[in-house]
Amino acid sequence: MFRAITIMLIMLVIGGCQAVEPWERDRLSRKDMQLIADPLEAQRTEQIFFSKEASSGGSAAAGGGCGCN
């Protein structure tokens, strides 16, 4: 896995992404540009889909379970 991460890292960097300078990050710092814009909404929807679908995970490590599944 670490190898895969290293390869991805190198690919992304060599892939020619221009460096985004700190003073260009005002739009990236907006709420809706975050990976998780609203922690409560994220938890709520994860809980629902975890209890109604066979798949789960994918956003950081899974926490504890519940009796809903």
Partner: protein, 382 residues
């Protein structure tokens, strides 16, 4: 000529906060958020009911969240949620006269509540952060305790961020009325989970995140309430995820895309794609539609209806969640900012259908859910 407005101040402040005295990406404000929501499943089709109640699950959820910087290097957050569940849920399936699956539902007797608590503490360093979290979730018949750790490291002047996290949880299952209904009295399961993710700034208006996840669950993975539900004692789940955020100057719009490919040792594969389109027609208003597509294949031991003739040791489940199906959901989200307080609300409609599944020609599962979620909340920064 560059337009000067309060966003210039935001830029200066953001650059100032990137100075090391202010810690890594440490939050500078305290946040308090509360939210209440109602989840309501559509009634089951009466003609497909073999037994029980057509009125399905309803969950009322209250959530509470607070996070705050603590000193110059630390921050902490606490999340509490409470759910009140009511309605009926599927107990099993039987085969109807015309060879279709009928559902056996519980009576509308379920009346349970769940309380969840998560506490996390983060220490910020120059270019990295480390956080530890403890979680608890408790119901009458289910208790879960978890511990997790996350390490984040910035590279290339914060153009790239690597996140590594791991968690461990142990769950105790103590079904209600176990003696009365012949259910297992006590079972355990343990989960270990790992995640590695990389976030890369692509341009001043685009950011990409990719991640790999691995979860291993061992122990009692069956549903103790279903009449015949026997699942393997181990499950290994893998995910590959990608998230992309793109900003458009038009109405200050953020386009959000999230994709996940999931596969596991039950032979379930799934694809999830969600997108939303949050726009700000005014600086204090944000709203936008959301859409989500989900499709999965069936588990290797899925049976359209319970087969009591099979030995109890052989894996089988007629749980609709292990069948081949797919779902669309649509929704709308809105926020209104009034000073330091933000009001938010959302509506979502979810409809699943076996025709959208990743496997072909499967019989319809009448228990597939359709539901609505309505939520209202507010967030206060101080």
């Amino acid at each position: 000529m560059r337009k000067v407005d309060s966003s210039s101040l935001a830029l200066l402040s953001a650059a100032a906060l990137a100075l090391p005295a202010f810690g890594a990406t440490q939050p500078t404000e305290r946040t308090l958020a509360v939210s209440t929501s109602v989840y309501q499943e559509d009634d089951l089709e009466r003609s497909r009911l073999a037994f029980g109640d057509v009125e399905r699950f309803k969950v009322k959820t209250n959530q509470f969240y607070v996070s705050a910087p603590m000193g110059r290097d630390w921050s902490g957050s606490v999340r509490y949620d409470n759910e009140a569940m009511s309605g009926a849920s599927p107990w099993g399936t039987s085969v109807s006269a015309d060879g279709q699956t009928d559902v056996i539902m519980s009576g509308a007797s379920i009346d349970d509540s769940r309380n969840g608590l998560d506490v996390s503490l983060t220490r910020y360093f120059d270019q990295s952060s480390f956080s530890v979290s403890l979680g608890y979730s408790g119901e009458d018949d289910y208790h879960s305790r978890s511990v997790g750790m996350t390490f984040e490291r910035d590279f290339f002047n914060r153009n790239t961020t690597l996140a590594l996290s791991g968690s461990y949880s142990t769950d105790e299952i103590t079904p209600t009325d176990a003696a009365l209904y012949g259910r297992v009295p006590y079972k355990e399961k343990r989960s270990r989970s790992f995640y590695a993710g990389l976030t890369q700034l692509i341009s001043p208006v685009a950011v990409l995140n990719v991640g790999l996840g691995l979860t291993s669950r061992r122990g009692f993975l069956s549903d103790p309430y279903k009449l015949r539900d026997v699942r393997p004692k181990q499950r290994l789940e893998k995910t590959v995820t990608a998230s992309y955020r793109h900003y458009l100057d038009w109405r200050q719009t953020s386009l959000r895309f999230d994709y996940r490919y999931f596969w596991d040792s039950f032979d379930v594969r799934s694809q999830t794609l969600s997108a939303s389109f949050m726009q700000n027609p005014r600086s204090d208003i944000a709203w936008g539609p959301t859409v989500r597509y989900y499709a999965q294949s069936e588990a290797s031991f899925y049976r359209p209806f319970d087969q009591y003739a099979l030995p109890v040791t052989q894996a089988q489940s007629s749980d609709f969640r292990l069948s081949s199906y797919g779902a669309w959901s649509y929704g709308i989200k809105a926020r209104y900012q009034m000073g330091a307080i933000e009001f938010n609300g959302s509506l979502e409609r979810y409809e699943s259908d076996e025709g959208l599944g990743l496997d072909e020609s499967v019989s319809a599962h009448p228990a597939l859910v359709r539901f609505n979620v309505v939520s209202l909340g507010l967030e206060f920064k101080f």
